[in-house]
Amino acid sequence: MILEDKLGTESDAVYTMLMNVHDGLSLEASHALNARLILILMNEIGDAEKITALLEEARSIPLG
């Protein structure tokens, strides 16, 4: 699976918003926010097959 860009000219703005939403949080709170965000985004994707593929893709790259 190769994931192409879908954010166009907004990619820098979107990345900045993601950083801003974590502003001022402890590491623990940030992890909680990330978990919450993933649950929300999964529901927004709304396609179990697609979500499965994305989860496998994320796991396929060796982790730290």
């Binding site: 190769i2 994931l3 192409e4 860009d5 879908k6 954010l7 990619s11 820098d12 703005a13 990345y15 900045t16 993601l18 950083m19 974590h22 949080l25 590491l27 940030s30 992890h31 990330n34 790259i61």
Partner: protein, 516 residues
Amino acid sequence: MAYDYAPFPYVVPPGLTATEPRHPVAIVGAGPIGLAMAIDLAGHGIKSVVLDDNNVVSVGSRAICWAKRTLEIFDRLGVGDRMLAKGVTWKVGRLFHGSNEVYSFDLLPEDGHKYPAFINLQQYYVEQYLVERTRDFPDHIDLRFLNKVTDHRDHGDHVMLTIETPDGPYTLEAGYYIAAEGAGSPTRNRMKLPFEGQTFEEHFLIVDVELPHSPFSTEDPERWFWFAPPFHPGQSALLHKQPDNIYRIDLQLGPDTDPKTEATEEKVIPRIKAIIGDMAFRLDWMSVYKFRCAKLDRFVHGRVLFVGDSAHVVSPFGARGGNGGIQDVDNLGWKLAAVLNGAPATLLDSYDEERTHGSAENILNSARATNFMTPKSEIETLFRNETLILAGKHPFARKLINSGRLSQPCSLAGMALQSGDHPMVGQSLTDMPMETGWLIERIKGQFTLLTLDDSVWPDLDDIRIVPLPKSDQSAAHYGSKGAFLIRPDDHICAYFNAPDTGALAAALARATGRNQ
């Protein structure tokens, strides 16, 4: 070889012995922006006096990346060819994470432009070429070294300047006062104008070294950027070539370093050896920086006008400082000339509107790049590292990596001087080959009608007609029907799908501030 910083001669100014006639324009600061301003005004027939407290060019390479649009402006000012000949043309950039190459990019894959996407050229050469170019306008440019402006007063119809020289102080009057003094602008401080924005806590070390051969794996000059390189753990690094076999190295140092101890040969030499390996080198210049992104709310204050770093400062990622300043000059020159020739002074409000917008865009881009490069929490570092890891495989993640979004001219769409809503209106010209030479050479700082088809326009006062040769390239970019009205600064301000002198006159009136 090290650059020879020969001082420019000081000449006793006439104002020390007798009152000088009022100057149309005084430019304070003879850096690249002030000098370009004087040359641009001279090209429009406007006389200026340029006052600088110093008498040598920039010490150290400082601004080195000159973007395509800047080179096109310098072409009009008469130094573009010389800069291109001396400068290092590069277009391939490589980005590394640790010791792995994540991706490479080619800045301008398309041919058919006079100037490349970027050249690298030390600021001292740019200033030298500009100073030499001012000598071609002895009747229009009065360049005074060791003339330090210590005070100014806006009297409504002119500005009075107080100037210190080695022979004592004098005063002179100017119709307009342009502050081009750099980031520390004494004029801005004197006027107590707020200059607010974001300060970054990171220190960066900037070093120029002369090397006997290329440190890149190829002889072609490239731009190499590392996140967390093996030779500089946890930080970022940049390597770039300049003329004379000088290489620029930027190293992120972290927020808790002491600039005084970092900028010593003892500390710097081992760092350089870690990057370039065991190669003999000469240390040419070094400096430790912290960065700010800040701007004035307004660049026009009565008869006092701010350009370049006096008006706005950015972090260097994206090369938006020097390039942004030259675009200020490009935008202001023809407008100020028009006002001095009788156009309404409100035309200068459009300089304020257009360039505060341009500088805000530059600040946004350079602040985002700086934030990406200097994560300020564990979670930001985590996101940054995962982006870099994903980028090895996924194009979407490559696009999120931000080591500087390189300077581009901003769009002026929707602003006061532009007419209509054609999608090209507001954009700067994209260069095209002509039968001989290049499109950007044909505008010559004048309003120009660029015609795309064979429709016949009547002869027009004040507007030159330039037919665009038909080609696949020109059709793909500009289309093949109608005509564009081009401003003296090469921006498109109106489109007409058929000859219409009434509509053209209205667009021209609007673009010159006579009918808004």
